[in-house]
Each structure stands twice: as structure tokens, then as C-alpha cells.
């Protein structure tokens, strides 16, 4: 009786080897501010397979989808809408680049964000497939992705270049990108995420994904990335990143952590179908600490544990000798090439000013691509755009500006510009904006906290050469997206809490004005003789 499941398992493993493979990986590292960044990566590869050509969408027969490891529900969606590349992220929190450096997975913008590459040329339009895909994913992940409609969809090709390859079918591929900053991420999104994994959350590294602890982290985000590599096949990379603060709890003065303290779990058993299952721990460069158990091998300041060999229940822990002390100075060298801040100034409900400050931490000039995908509620006055370099106006620092103006009530603006940051420069870019006056049906029926504006994207461009002598600079990732935090904008809002007062008051006013004028216009004027005194006078 015991043999039967084991045999099934063996069969599964064998089947997986044929044309599917699954590997899992978790990397943990202590950040300079004492927090712990954890990145879970689950890779499923459908070998020698290619995305669906959209021209075959209305053919009667699609190839059969007999998957053992590859998530079927996701695979069906991908084939139904002929998606070549897909990136969906659901994040909560603000990634603090200045303290935490670059994230392992670059898409860390708050809220939901979805971008896909799809081939054009299908019998049904790309927008129809985009809309269908949004709704299918909304259903799959229990997220309000359905609201990523035309009012939020843009196509900024440069910063969102495909990660994998695009098949050469002789038809063009198009990008669709949309983000929803106000989306909250919680356990209802994690459950469908776990269901896509071959071992669910039952064994292997995925068993650490305990919602009670994950969603208490200072920052957390999940991502589904589908891409195609002709040499490998179709690859689904599912990621979960967290930034946990061990110093938050109680009076603990050390940044000690363990699987127990971070996830309230340990790895009890391996996932049998995983071809590789690895735990990596970043070895801190400062302080005295004790890492248990001993890593199997060490490369590049990372200790690695291979779970597929000689497994026994595992709880990695790291303990420091001394109490943690926060840095009183900024980290040097700075973990990022640039720092940025984005703010919406002005307290009126009709005008404002968008201010972006950029600091270059490098000793050489750097080009930054700056992208805003602004909903039409906030409209730019492009002629007011000024750039101040260390306090003096210098508009020559801007180049390659492209702007797709918004269509009110329909389409967002796409604003893209390349900013040249001189060495160690502080740049302030400001642009006046006007805030739209909404139709009253356009206000959501919820509490009126304001409108979330999607994060801006900055992307250092590779144009500027690196200083070969300064080795620390070479560690800067290049050409990766940097997300600002979203902003909240106050638009003129009627007080919906007392509509009847307002209706009664304004109706009375209109009735009074109209009544008076109507009366004057339609009245027949006659001369009347007042009797009495007047007659006596005569």
C-alpha cells in the first residue's frame, strides 16, 4: 500500500524529466539596515515548446496541453490569448532603494502591474486579447486586474523590453502595460499562486510561504513571469520577495533570523519533483555571526544548501554576537547609481506641480530614462517643464522627449524623457500639472481617499562607460528598472456624504432663478390704475 504513492511519485518524476522541469530556490540576505530580504524563485520549464502563434487562434485544434509540472490553469490562459511574454506583479510596500539596494526581481512597483508582449496579426485584435487576458488573470489570481482598462493601458517599449525572445513569425509584437497602484496584496492572491506550483505549499521551499508571516513583512510582492527562450522553451518563473524586519519585534536589539522567526516554519521535506532545490544565504560582510547549519558550498559571499542531497528537516539561522546599531551616515558606496524622489506639490484641487529630484551617486555622467504613465486625471503643461542642476536652470539635460497626450476620460498619457545626470549631480525636474474635474459618475463608490497615480519608472541607460578602475561601480546593475512609489492626488470631490442637502439647495437656487426670469419673460405687462389716492390727485 505504501508502495503505490511512491510508484506514482516515481512515475511523475520520470514524466517530468521528459520535457518539463521544475527548480526552486530561496535566497536570503541581511540588508544594511538590519532587515532581511528573501527571494523565492520557482522555475518551471516547458522544454522545446513555443508560444502560440496568434494566427492559429481560431483553428479548431490547439495542441494538447498534457502538463505534469507546468501549471495548467496558467498554460491554458497563455494559449487562449496567444501570449508570448507575460509579467504580472502584485506588490505591497515601498522598496527603499537607498537602503536596500537593487531588488533581486526588478519589478517592485507598489500595487498590481501587468505587462505582456503579444504578436499582432490575429483574427481578433490585440486589445481584445489584452482585455480577455486581464480578466482571465483577475479570475486566476483573485486580483482586480480587470480594472486595468484602456484608461490605464500604455505601451512604453523602451523600459519594458522583452526579457526573453520573441518568435520570428513575420508579424510584429506589441507591448501592453498597465498598473494599478491601489491594489492590495494579501492571502487571497497567495493561495492561487501556491496552486500553480507542482508541490503546492506542502513540501520543499514553497512550504515556507506562510501567509501569516509573509503579509506581515515590511515589503512583500509576488510575481509571475512567462517568457520564451528558443534554446530552452517556455519558462514560467514565479517569485515571491519579502523584506522582513527582525528588529521590529519587541525589544530585540539583534538582527538575528531563522526560518522559524521569519516564516514560523522550517523545511520539513523536499519537493520530490524538483530537479534542483537550493537555499542560498548571503554571508554578511560585517560583524561576528554564527550561521547554522554549515553551508554545503560557498560562492561569491553566498552560502548554498542543496536540499536534494541527504535531506533532513532544515532551519537555517544566523545569530550575531553584538547588538545591531543603525548606520548614522548614508551607506558608502551608495548601493544605487541614482536616488530619486517624486512629489506632487501644491495643495489646491485644480493645480499642482510634479517635482522629481534625481541624485547621481556616480563619478561619471549617466543617462536616465524617466517614464511617467499618468492617468488623464493629471495633465502636464509641458512648456512649464524645467530642470535645475544644483540650483540653476539647465534644460539641455533633457533629450529624446516623447509624449503621448492623454485623452480625457479614455486614455492615459505616456511621458518619456532621457535625463543626463552629470557626475555627482543633484537634478530637480519640475512640471506644472492640472488636475481634472471628474464627472460625478467617475468617482468610485468607496471612501474618497484620493486617486493613486502609478509609480514612475527610471532606467539607467548603458551609454555611459564604467570606470574600470573603480571596481565597486561595476557591481551596479545596469539597464534595470527603478520604480518610484505611487502618489495620491486630491481631485475636486463633491461631499458625497450629504447629497440631499446639496441637491435640495442647488435645486432651490435654480428654481428660484429660473422662476423669476421665466415669470418676467412670460408675464403680460399692463398699465394698472391704482384707485383711491391717485384718482383724487387727478
Amino acid at each position: 500500500m505504501i508502495l503505490l504513492p511512491t510508484l506514482c511519485l516515481l512515475f511523475l518524476t520520470v514524466a517530468a524529466v521528459e520535457n518539463e522541469s521544475f527548480s526552486e530556490d530561496v535566497a536570503l540576505r541581511t540588508l544594511p539596515d538590519g532587515r532581511v530580504a528573501t527571494t523565492f524563485t520557482f522555475n518551471t520549464i516547458l522544454e522545446k515548446e513555443a508560444p502560440r502563434d496568434p494566427r492559429t487562434l481560431f483553428d479548431d485544434q490547439d495542441e494538447s496541453q498534457h502538463y505534469t509540472l507546468f501549471p495548467l490553469s496558467l498554460g491554458q490562459v497563455l494559449r487562449e490569448y496567444a501570449v508570448t511574454e507575460l509579467h504580472l506583479t502584485l506588490n505591497a510596500g515601498k522598496w527603499d532603494y537607498d537602503k536596500w539596494g537593487y531588488p533581486s526581481e526588478p519589478d517592485v512597483g507598489s500595487g498590481a502591474s501587468l505587462w505582456t508582449w503579444m504578436a499582432d496579426g490575429a483574427p481578433n485584435s490585440i486589445d481584445a486579447r489584452w482585455s480577455g487576458l486581464r480578466n482571465a488573470l483577475a479570475g486566476l489570481f483573485c486580483a482586480s486586474l480587470g480594472t486595468l482598462d484602456e484608461q490605464r493601458t500604455t505601451s512604453p517599449v523602451i523600459p519594458f523590453a522583452p526579457e526573453g525572445s520573441l518568435p520570428d513569425w513575420g508579424i510584429p509584437h506589441r507591448l501592453r502595460h498597465a498598473s494599478l497602484a491601489s491594489e492590495h496584496v494579501c492571502t487571497e492572491n497567495l493561495t492561487p499562486f501556491l496552486k500553480l506550483l507542482p508541490c503546492k505549499g506542502l513540501s520543499g521551499i514553497a512550504s515556507l510561504l506562510n501567509p501569516h508571516r509573509l503579509f506581515d513583512a515590511d515589503w512583500h510582492g509576488m510575481g509571475i513571469h512567462v517568457l520564451w527562450d528558443p534554446a530552452v522553451g517556455v519558462q514560467v518563473r514565479m517569485t515571491f520577495q519579502t523584506v522582513t524586519n527582525p528588529l521590529r519585534a519587541g525589544n530585540i536589539r539583534k538582527e538575528d533570523w531563522s526560518f522559524r522567526s521569519l516564516f514560523d516554519r522550517r523545511i520539513e521535506r523536499v519537493c520530490p519533483v524538483a530537479s534542483s532545490s537550493q537555499v542560498s544565504v548571503g554571508l554578511p560582510s560585517r560583524g561576528m555571526y554564527n550561521l547554522k547549519p554549515e553551508p554545503h558550498h560557498i560562492t561569491d559571499n553566498m552560502g548554498h544548501y542543496d536540499l536534494t542531497k541527504d535531506f533532513e528537516p532544515m532551519d537555517v539561522s544566523i545569530k550575531w554576537k553584538n547588538a545591531f546599531e543603525y548606520l548614522l551616515e548614508p551607506i558608502t558606496p551608495h548601493p544605487m547609481p541614482i536616488s530619486f524622489r517624486r512629489m506632487l506639490h501644491g495643495n489646491s484641487q485644480d493645480r499642482g506641480q510634479l517635482v522629481v529630484t534625481l541624485d547621481n551617486h556616480l563619478d561619471n555622467a549617466i543617462d536616465i530614462l524617466y517614464l511617467e504613465t499618468m492617468p488623464w486625471m493629471v495633465q502636464f503643461y509641458l512648456h512649464t517643464m524645467t530642470v535645475e542642476h544644483n540650483g540653476s536652470v539647465d534644460n539641455t539635460l533633457l533629450s529624446n522627449l516623447s509624449y503621448i497626450p492623454p485623452v480625457p476620460h479614455a486614455q492615459p498619457a505616456t511621458f518619456q524623457v532621457i535625463v543626463t545626470l552629470p557626475a555627482q549631480a543633484h537634478i530637480k525636474l519640475s512640471i506644472d500639472v492640472t488636475k481634472a474635474f471628474l464627472r460625478y459618475t467617475e468617482h468610485p463608490p468607496d471612501a474618497q481617499r484620493g486617486w493613486d497615480l502609478p509609480p514612475a519608472v527610471f532606467m539607467p541607460l548603458d551609454a555611459s562607460p564604467l570606470d574600470a578602475k573603480n571596481e565597486t561601480l561595476t557591481t551596479y546593475p545596469r539597464g534595470k528598472r527603478i520604480y518610484s512609489s505611487p502618489m495620491l492626488v486630491d481631485l475636486a470631490t463633491p461631499d458625497f456624504s450629504m447629497p440631499y442637502n446639496v441637491i435640495i439647495f442647488s435645486c432651490s437656487l435654480v428654481a428660484f432663478l429660473f422662476g423669476t426670469i421665466f415669470n418676467l419673460l412670460t408675464r403680460k405687462w399692463v398699465v394698472l390704475k391704482l384707485d383711491g389716492e391717485k384718482e383724487k390727485e387727478e
Partner: protein, 632 residues
């Protein structure tokens, strides 16, 4: 009532249109015949209403309109560890005070302490230059990024270095600052914050926060040189200002008036009151007025104004004691609101649509301290953290008569409107009668008793020119008091006042004005027309101001209401007395020591309207009355 209706009821027969016109004429005649009575009644009603404001049956402040706030419904975690931390911070702050640390040293210390807690912290130095003196300082601030949130919203917890006690006379708010520091170390332990928390320790009394808020909102002010902030700014709905000047405290006082008479949403104050009572166990008072109704010896200024022999019998009546207590609150409120400068550091937040108030720990020997204040602050923060949207219900127009009772706008606004309406009726009455004159009944066929009236011209244009001139004089006065030569010298202020007081004499000596005084049968006098328009203008100003800044409107109603309306005495010496009295009323503020300096400081530093309103509206209105007096 029936008789009254019968008077106007249409006869059964006759042209209905004609009847209607007759009825209208009758009503008009009835009103105009009793105009003086109506005006007098309205004046009496208005002033009486103002007097009884403290006794009007009021709404209790128990009800919280915004359901999301949920005040006093948490178990607070603030405990003796945090009190200990606050005590240690206080030791270091006292050391800074005793070693006469400079603003920069203090700010550096605060920044370092915030950084040690793992918060993003920075400092901001600023320099204000006004004609009444410059002020410089360094603010320290820190940001706790709330976990799991995108950082688009924030709550500000602030303490100014100087306490509001004595309005910045140098009393330090060390315990307030220590509370903020300890709170910063406390709140970072919890993940339930939905909004970023910004801690600000502003230098000085009002100047530091003004500089910080201007930089936070990207507002530039020509006389302010301030550093930009190093934190990304976000939308702020609520700010809590802590003021704890003493060693311990007995009550928590609410100070809520903002610049130019703006008030925070009352839900915030109501929540604070409930939290303070239920969670903190500390009684809440309005301002620093302890409700001492059990003890007649200390009933404040109003009680001691009574002659001593009257005090015991009158003050033994509970209703009188209640009236005196409420009246002192209302007067204090009117003082803060009408002056426009607000009652503390919180005042600066309101113009950015941030609801803010100061929780003032009333210095006493006990029984409360950091433990109570921390719990109340923690719970109030949690309440502000619960908010899903800005406080928006129309609880912005109110008058607190004590911390427990408040008046809605409908209960106090009519008092000023009554006075304003009375003035408007009186002014229109004068205007109308100025357009008519009695002519001698020369035609013999008329009955002897019949009075014959005829239209006459009113010299509107010259009068409007005179009025425009007085306002231009007001603008010049405004310019002059905003120069350093005059704002800082009380002698020169009095001199300017005297010069302006002589202007009506110069004007009346002008031959053009004199020639405008023509034959009274064909043209009304300039004086009468000017008086009519002056009263109408004053009434309009009061009505408009009443919804913007009720206390300012009420002050104008008291100062201008009857004084502009009373007839000018006819005797020559009495006229001079009136002339001097009006001039003193209109320009007397120039002679009050320090008043001009305060007003100019408020205008140049904070943008308080009091200075322009007094110079360009109030003084010209009274000057017009002086001219009337001179021309009559």
C-alpha cells in the same frame, strides 16, 4: 394673526393684479413706517444673541460623525518602558538646554536620535526676514515608512521647541519633544500603521513649523530662505501637536484655532476628548481654562471683574458660574480667531487642508505625566490611522463653549447676521430718504396738512470717490506699517495715526467737496449719502466675513454696528467730540503698544489677514464715518 392676515386679504371683488399691487404697497408702507423700530429690534436681538451664546443649549461632543475613527477602542501598548525612554531623552534635552546648545546642535542631536531608531531623519535650516526682525533656526524631522504601504499618505506628529505658553516667550516644550522622540521609538515596533508617520521637532514657536510646512508643500515665500526637505512628501490628513511645558499635568487642553480663523474638523477634537477620558484617564478642558465651577474664588478673569461685594452673592448661583466659565471660553476663542494668528503651532497646518490641534498638558503638580500623554497620543494616532478618507462631514463650523459642548453654526451665525441686517436696513433707509425732500406746499388747491415730497439727486459719484480715497489711504497705511521704520517704532505709529486723523479735515476744506454741498432741495448732502453707503458697505463686509471668520465678523459688528449708525450730534463741540471718538476708534490700534508689530509679524511671516483687513477695510470704514462727522 387673523387680524394681520385680514389686513392684507384681497377684497372679493376687483382686479386681482391691482389688489396685489395694493397689498404690496401696504406691506412696504408698514415696514418703512416702522423701520427705526425694526432696526433697533434687530440690533438688540443681535447683541443679545452674542451675549447669550455661552448659555444656548448646546450639542454635546459625544457623538463622532466619522464611523471609521473608532476612538478609544484599542488596548494601548505604551507602557513604563516608553516612559523611561522619554525620561532619558528628557535628561539629554535638559542637558542641551543647560549648555545653551544652538539650534543646529539641538537639531543634530534630534536627527542622531531619530537615526539611531532606524528612521530616515534630517534637518532643515531656515531664515525668515520680516521688518520686525529676522528669525533663524533648524528643524529636525524623521519619517517612519509604514510597512506594507506605498507611502502615499502620512500623519504628522509634531512638537515645537518652544511651548505655546506665553505664545513663544521662551518657555520650552522639552517634555513634548521627549514624548515625540519616545513615541518614534515606540511606533516602529508595530506593523499596523497604514500611513507613514512623520515626526517633526520644529525650532522656535511658529516660525520653524511655518518653514517646514512651506518646504513640505513646495510653497515659496519671498521672505523665507529654507532648505528643501530630504524626504519624499505625501498627502497628510491629520497632524497632532504635543505641548507639554510643565513637570506634570492635571488636564489635557485642546487648542484648535488656526490661521485666519480656520478650524480643524470637530470629529478629531471629539475623538481626542473621548480617548483622553477613556484611555488616558485625564480630564479634557478647552484651552488652559480649568472648569472650576466648584470653587468661586477662581473663576478666571470674568469672575474677578465683578466688584468684590457682588462676587459672593452672584457667584453662588450655579447658572452664573456656568455662564462665566462658558463665556470665558467663548471670549478666548473669539480672541484667537479674530486675531487670526491661531492658538499654537497646529494653526499653520489648516491652510494645507490638514486637520490639526495641540494637545496641551496643563502644567500642574500631578497626577499625570508621560504615561498618560503617551497612551493618549498612541490611541489618537491609531484613530487617525483608521481614517479611510479625509474628515469631511461639515464639522468645520462650530464654536466650543467647553470641551463637552459645542455650538453649531446655525446657533451662533445669526447673531452677527442680525446686526448686519440691521445695519443694511438702516443704511438703505438713509439712502432712500436721501433721495427725497420735502417741498413747501405752495399749490393752494392742496390740503394744508399734506406733505409733498419730491425726488432729489444723490451725489453718488463724489461719495464713491471719497470712499475709494479712504480705502486708498488704508492701502497706504498698510504699506507704511509694513515698513521697518514704522513697524518697529511706536512713536512713528502714533504719528501716522495722527496724520491720518487730520485727513478728513483736509478733505472737507477742499473747495470741490464744499461746492458739492449744494441746494438741499435738488441734491442730498454728501454727508448723508456717504453715511448711507458707508453703513451698507460695513454691513456687507460683516456678512461676508461672518462665514469666513466668525469672531472677526462679530468683533466688527460690535465695533462698527451701532457706532456707525447713531446720528451725528448737531452741536459744534459735540461734533468735535464725535470726530475724536471716531478717529480713536479707527486708528486707536496704532497706539496700542506692540499691536502693530504683532500684526505685521503675522502678515509677513504667516500671511494672517488681520493686518490688511484692519488697514484696508476697518480703518477706512471708520474714516468714512469721521468724514461724515466733519461734513455734517
Amino acid at each position: 394673526m387673523d387680524r394681520l392676515l385680514a389686513k392684507f386679504r384681497a377684497p372679493k371683488t376687483g382686479n386681482p393684479h391691482l389688489v396685489r399691487i395694493q397689498r404690496r404697497d401696504k406691506i412696504i408702507a408698514l415696514v418703512t413706517a416702522r423701520l427705526r423700530l425694526i432696526v433697533a429690534l434687530l440690533f438688540i436681538a443681535g447683541y443679545a444673541w452674542m451675549l447669550i451664546l455661552p448659555t444656548i443649549p448646546t450639542e454635546t461632543t459625544d457623538k463622532i460623525d466619522e464611523n471609521a475613527l473608532l476612538p478609544a477602542q484599542i488596548n494601548t501598548q505604551w507602557n513604563w518602558d516608553e516612559v523611561h525612554a522619554a525620561d532619558r531623552y528628557l535628561d539629554q534635552l535638559e542637558h542641551l538646554r543647560d549648555t545653551n546648545a544652538s539650534s543646529a546642535e539641538r537639531a543634530l542631536y534630534l536627527q542622531t536620535e531619530f537615526l539611531k531608531l532606524g528612521l530616515d531623519a534630517s534637518t532643515q535650516s531656515y531664515t525668515f526676514s520680516t521688518v520686525v526682525g529676522d528669525s533663524t533656526g533648524v528643524n529636525a524631522y524623521a519619517l517612519l515608512a509604514a510597512p506594507r504601504t506605498p507611502g502615499a499618505e502620512a500623519i504628522i506628529i509634531s512638537a515645537s521647541w518652544q511651548s505655546r505658553t506665553g505664545e513663544g516667550d521662551g518657555t520650552l516644550n522639552l517634555r513634548g519633544v521627549a514624548t515625540v522622540l519616545s513615541m518614534a521609538s515606540f511606533v516602529r515596533r508595530y506593523s499596523h500603521w497604514a500611513k507613514d508617520l512623520v515626526f517633526v521637532v520644529s525650532d522656535g514657536y511658529l516660525d520653524g513649523m511655518q518653514a517646514w510646512l512651506s518646504a513640505y508643500h513646495g510653497v515659496s515665500q519671498p521672505n523665507l530662505l529654507a532648505d528643501n526637505l530630504d524626504i519624499a512628501t505625501s498627502v497628510v490628513w491629520v497632524a497632532l501637536n504635543v505641548d507639554y511645558p510643565g513637570h506634570s499635568f492635571s488636564h489635557l487642553g485642546i487648542f484648535h484655532e488656526g490661521l485666519n480663523g480656520r478650524l480643524p474638523n470637530q470629529d478629531l477634537l471629539r475623538s481626542f476628548r473621548r480617548i483622553s477620558r477613556q484611555t488616558g484617564g485625564s480630564p479634557v478642558i478647552l484651552y488652559d481654562h480649568i472648569d472650576n465651577r466648584d470653587n468661586h474664588k477662581s473663576l478666571g478673569m470674568l469672575g474677578s471683574m465683578l466688584p468684590s461685594w457682588l462676587q459672593t452673592p452672584i457667584l453662588s448661583i450655579p447658572q452664573v458660574r456656568k455662564y462665566i466659565y462658558h463665556a470665558s471660553n467663548v471670549l478666548q476663542h473669539a480672541n484667537y480667531q479674530a486675531r487670526g494668528i491661531g492658538s499654537g503651532t497646529h494653526a499653520l497646518f489648516h491652510k494645507y487642508r490638514i486637520d490639526a490641534f495641540t494637545m496641551y498638558a496643563l502644567p500642574a503638580t500631578g497626577p499625570h505625566g508621560f504615561h498618560t500623554l503617551g497612551k493618549v497620543l498612541e490611541s489618537t494616532l491609531r484613530t487617525a490611522n483608521n481614517m479611510l478618507e479625509r474628515l469631511h462631514a461639515s464639522l468645520f463650523f462650530y464654536m466650543l463653549t467647553s470641551s463637552d459642548f459645542s455650538l453649531k453654526i446655525g446657533m451662533f451665525l445669526p447673531s452677527v447676521i442680525c446686526v448686519s441686517v440691521a445695519m443694511m436696513f438702516h443704511g438703505l433707509g438713509i439712502w432712500t430718504s436721501a433721495g427725497w425732500t420735502q417741498i413747501a406746499a405752495t399749490a393752494t388747491e392742496l390740503e394744508k396738512s399734506k406733505i409733498v415730497v419730491a425726488r432729489r439727486i444723490r451725489p453718488t459719484l463724489p461719495v464713491l470717490a471719497i470712499m475709494a480715497m479712504t480705502h486708498a489711504v488704508g492701502a497706504v497705511l498698510f504699506y507704511l506699517v509694513n515698513t521697518s521704520a514704522i513697524a518697529t517704532s511706536s512713536f512713528r505709529q502714533v504719528l501716522v495715526g495722527l496724520v491720518i486723523a487730520t485727513l478728513p479735515m483736509v478733505l472737507s476744506a477742499n473747495p470741490k467737496v464744499a461746492s458739492a454741498q449744494q441746494d438741499e432741495d435738488t441734491q442730498a448732502t454728501v454727508a448723508v449719502t456717504l453715511k448711507a453707503l458707508n453703513i451698507c458697505l460695513a454691513s456687507t463686509v460683516i456678512s461676508i466675513l461672518s462665514v469666513l471668520n466668525f469672531s472677526l465678523a462679530a468683533s466688527l459688528a460690535v465695533l462698527l454696528g451701532v457706532t456707525l449708525c447713531i446720528p451725528i450730534p448737531s452741536g459744534s463741540s459735540a461734533k468735535w467730540v464725535a470726530y475724536v471718538a471716531y478717529s480713536a476708534l479707527g486708528l486707536g490700534w496704532l497706539a496700542i503698544p506692540g499691536e502693530v508689530e504683532r500684526m505685521v509679524w503675522g502678515w509677513q511671516m504667516l500671511g494672517v489677514w488681520t493686518c490688511p483687513i484692519v488697514c484696508m477695510i476697518y480703518t477706512p470704514l471708520v474714516l468714512q464715518a469721521v468724514i461724515v462727522c466733519k461734513l455734517t
